[in-house]
């Protein structure tokens, strides 16, 4: 009971009818070192998903922090441009090549959608600002299972054919257990579901042996004993999960996470990039941001500028390799 009833933040809607989809703005020539940010320019903030999702919540959290601490002088127009698993929204940002006033938050689909669909853009095309956090997963079994810890699980998996459930295929839910199984030396059948609720139902009805999921969404069931957490994929286990070991702790580190970060349009002016890096350094210091990280059980992983681009490329290559090896993508 965490994310699910979170209210959809009231829409910040300042730019009204004039914002035509087909009018990408070209600021590249006009921007000068002193002029960013120009308070007269409206910041065009794209959320590539619909209201209420993880990406939406993150974007609106940042916008709220910017407003509260007066970190951005001009107006900010936030628009949900959902469609095509992010292809539409990020495609819109991609079209604002050279502008310093087009901005968007990233989530897992930023890496996976270009692998699946023929998007004109790749993650590395955009101007990177910062990686702010990563989504990591916890491996759980039914609370009534005989398996008590990850050691027993690996032994069981080596001896028996097992199934692990996750949400979707071309994403971290599939990659993480696959890499972990390779490292630990067992085999399993991956069963993909449409949502966390569906896969939890399958696990609780003993239809599958285990599942992976974002801890924030199943914390309630872990606390109540319905599910038993075995191992965590991030660098350090969140406090809410108690003494569950990380994959690194048990000697099978996989080094893959879903990046949640901030990007500008491709070829944004260097001043704009520098401004946003400085601004985000202040955003991540706020108590509101700390609360966001905790409420959504994210792992705070902060990387700025070009290092974020490197991180994206590395993550995408890692994903592509695993997905190609199982035939999920060509």
């Amino acid at each position: 009971m965490t994310l699910q009833t979170g209210p959809i933040t009231a829409r910040v809607k300042l730019g009204v009818l004039g914002m035509a989809l087909a009018a990408p703005l070209a600021f590249a020539g006009a921007a000068t070192a002193q002029s960013y940010p120009d308070a007269g320019e409206t910041l065009d903030w794209t959320i590539a998903f619909g209201p209420g999702g993880g990406n939406d919540i993150m974007a609106r959290t940042i916008v709220d922090i910017l407003a509260k601490y007066d970190l951005y002088p001009g107006e900010i127009a936030v628009e949900n441009r959902a469609g095509g698993s992010g292809a539409v929204g990020w495609g819109y940002l991609f079209a604002q090549d050279g502008s310093g006033y087009g901005i968007s938050t990233t989530s897992g689909s930023f890496v996976t959608t270009p692998l699946q669909a023929d998007t004109p853009w790749q993650p590395a095309d955009f101007t990177p600002v910062a990686l702010l956090a990563t989504d990591d997963l916890v491996l759980v079994v039914n609370g009534s299972s005989d398996i008590q810890d990850i050691g027993q699980f690996i032994d069981y998996a080596k001896a028996n054919p097992i199934t692990i459930a996750g949400t979707g295929t071309v994403n971290v839910d599939f990659i993480v257990p696959t890499l972990f199984a390779q490292a630990a030396g067992f085999e399993f059948e991956y069963v993909s579901f449409n949502s966390m609720a569906d896969q939890t139902t399958a696990l609780l009805s003993d239809s599958v042996d285990a599942m992976v999921g974002n801890p924030g969404e199943i914390l309630g069931l872990i606390d109540s004993g319905d599910l038993r957490a075995l191992v965590y994929s991030g660098a350090s286990t969140p406090a809410a999960l108690g003494d569950v070991p990380t994959m690194g702790d048990v000697g099978h580190d996989i080094g893959v996470s879903m990046p949640r970060g901030l990007i500008l349009a491709p070829n944004a002016p260097a001043e704009a990039q520098a401004f946003w890096i400085e601004t985000m350094k202040r955003v991540v210091e706020t108590p509101e941001w700390a609360a966001y990280i905790e409420n959504n059980t994210l792992t705070p992983t902060i990387v700025y500028g070009e290092d974020f681009r490197t991180f994206l490329t590395r993550t995408q290559n890692g994903f592509a390799e695993v997905l190609r090896s199982v035939g999920a993508i060509q």
């Binding site: 009971m1 994310l3 699910q4 009833t5 979170g6 209210p7 959809i8 009231a10 829409r11 619909g50 209201p51 209420g52 999702g53 628009e79 949900n80 441009r81 959902a82 469609g83 095509g84 698993s85 292809a87 539409v88 495609g91 959608t113 699946q116 669909a117 023929d118 998007t119 054919p161 199934t163 979707g168 295929t169 071309v170 059948e189 991956y190 069963v191 993909s192 579901f193 449409n194 949502s195 966390m196 609720a197 569906d198 939890t200 139902t201 399958a202 609780l204 009805s205 003993d206 239809s207 599958v208 309630g220 069931l221 997905l323 035939g327 999920a328 993508i329």
Partner: protein, 507 residues
């Protein structure tokens, strides 16, 4: 788990001024939608879904649910006064409702239908309160194999109940399944039927199709049948002063009818694929066969109006059970309601009530209040609805187009989806004209992906063996119930059809 304390907690949420306001608006809007001929709960919900953006989830769900069951109240007014059912679930209400109005008993008929709706709706909510937590417990043993079987049960029941046009019903359902396969294949990540378009990766969205088929399609059909040329000439006048209220005899003679109609309606409503229309026809024919004077049915017998009215309202409540506890919609309108839940990031299912107690019990508590509100509205606001009936269709029609188009756009701010809605509207018109079933298409569009996924998950889990369906006790039970339904329902359906035929030739 103490049901009573849960209900009290829900009541404390439902009774806040803002949620009460949403409830009132929803009930009012639902009744108006019900009054407009051709428009039932599915169209009303789909078109008005965008109205709930910017609300908090509890308020939004409370309002949408009120629209859903409110439409059942409104649909009967035109059945009684105009002999035109507001929607298919109130067809049976014309059998005796209109004759009563012609005898000068329009007032008592309108009041009794409101009372009957209230009784049906309230008994339905009481049964939800008791049964939903139990169902949630049972459904916790349901995994992919059971979900596949339940989805199949819903589709088979729906098609069996279509009756004579079953072939076209099957085609409609298959088209829904086909549309449901568009987008990224969940299991392999491969794109299907997207033709390189980014808009289609996420699949064909359900809301534009529902608005097109039920909203625009019905409107086009109404124009085709010439609804905009005729006024509301057949409207029966009623006396507001004398003989408006029903007599004590009306209540006494129908008290058991209400009990029977409520329970029958609820049970039929719980069955995926059956629903309010079937419930109302079944209740009508049951009541006539039990009546001491069956020859009066069709000539203005009060029990003949009360029976379908209690049943269709109880059925709408019953349909909430599989929606809340399984996440499986049993009808087109609950499919729209499910889409609304999903839009709010809520996934109904076995865990839903346990994980979202405020929302689930707030919703259930609001349904008690909603039925009271609707009882009051549907008695005291009758003159208002008569005014709405008098608005000519040639003016109402173009305005409905506006709501359909802008409503579709607001969901995702997508022009592509607006065009999809227009296309679905034109196809929906032809489906309506040639006897296809838009409801089967919409339900299949929701259940299809669910069934495909569940089947493939099942096959992965069982490593390719269909034996898994016979190994799991829950699966075996669902198979038994499905077979029983497929045998029993057509028999009962035939009784319902006979009731309709007798009525047509009766006088």
């Amino acid at each position: 788990m103490d049901i009573f304390s849960d209900l009290m907690m829900g009541l404390s949420i439902a009774i806040t001024p803002i949620n009460l306001a949403y409830l009132l608006v929803g009930a009012m809007v639902g009744m108006i939608v019900g009054v407009i001929p051709g428009f039932g709960p599915s169209a009303g919900l789909a078109i008005l879904l965008p109205l709930t953006f910017g609300m908090d989830p509890v308020g939004a769900i409370v309002m949408l649910a009120a629209i859903y069951y409110g439409a059942m109240y409104g649909g009967t007014i035109t059945s009684i006064l105009l002999n035109t059912p507001g929607e298919s679930a109130t067809v049976a209400s014309t059998f005796d409702g209109y004759p009563l109005a012609k005898q000068g008993r329009a007032g008592p008929a309108l009041v009794m239908q409101a009372v009957a709706s209230f009784v049906g709706g309230t008994v339905g909510v009481i049964l939800i309160t008791i049964l939903a937590p139990m169902f949630s417990q049972v459904s916790r043993s349901f995994g992919p194999p059971e979900y596949f079987l339940l989805a199949m049960m819903g589709m088979l029941t729906l098609i069996v109940m279509i009756g004579a046009n079953w072939k076209l019903g099957v085609i409609s359902a298959l088209i829904g399944f086909a549309l449901g396969t568009v987008g990224v294949d969940l299991e392999t990540g491969q794109s299907r039927y997207t033709f390189g378009s980014a808009e289609l990766i996420g699949g064909i969205y359900f809301i534009p199709i529902a608005i097109g088929l039920f909203g625009l399609g019905e409107l086009l059909y109404a124009f085709y049948t010439g609804m905009h040329r005729t006024g509301s000439g057949g409207l029966v006048q009623y006396d507001k002063e004398s003989r408006f209220w029903p007599t004590a005899q009306d209540f006494i003679s129908t008290r058991w009818t209400m009990v029977r109609g409520s329970i029958l309606g609820f049970v039929v409503g719980v069955i995926p694929g059956a629903g309010a229309t079937i419930a109302s026809l079944m209740a009508y024919s049951t009541e006539r066969s039990l009546s001491k004077n069956p020859e009066n049915f069709g000539k203005g017998e009060m029990a003949g109006l009360v029976a379908p009215e209690t049943a269709n309202n109880a059925a709408s409540s019953g349909a909430m059970i599989p929606l809340l506890t399984l996440g499986i919609p049993g009808s087109a309108s609950t499919a729209v309601l499910l889409a609304a839940f999903l839009l709010w990031g809520l996934r109904p299912g076995p865990l839903f009530m346990g994980q979202n107690p405020e929302l689930a019990w707030g919703l259930i508590a609001s349904m008690y209040l909603g039925n009271m509100v609707l009882l009051a509205i549907s008695i005291f606001a009758i003159p208002l609805f008569v005014q709405i009936i008098k608005v000519p269709y040639r003016i109402l029609g173009p305005c409905i187009v506006v709501i359909c188009a802008l409503g579709t756009f607001t969901v995702h701010a997508s022009f592509v989806e607006m065009w999809l809605m227009v296309a679905a509207g034109i196809v929906g018109f032809f489906m309506r004209l040639y006897g296809f079933s838009p409801a089967a298409l919409v339900l299949a569009l929701v259940l299809g992906p669910l069934a495909e996924e569940a089947l493939r998950q099942t096959m992965t889990i069982s490593r390719g063996s269909f034996g898994i369906f016979l190994d799991r006790p829950a699966s075996v039970w669902i198979i038994i119930v499905t077979i029983a339904l497929l045998i029993i329902l057509p028999l009962i359906g035939r009784i319902g059809a006979r009731a309709k035929a007798n009525k047509a030739t009766g006088h």
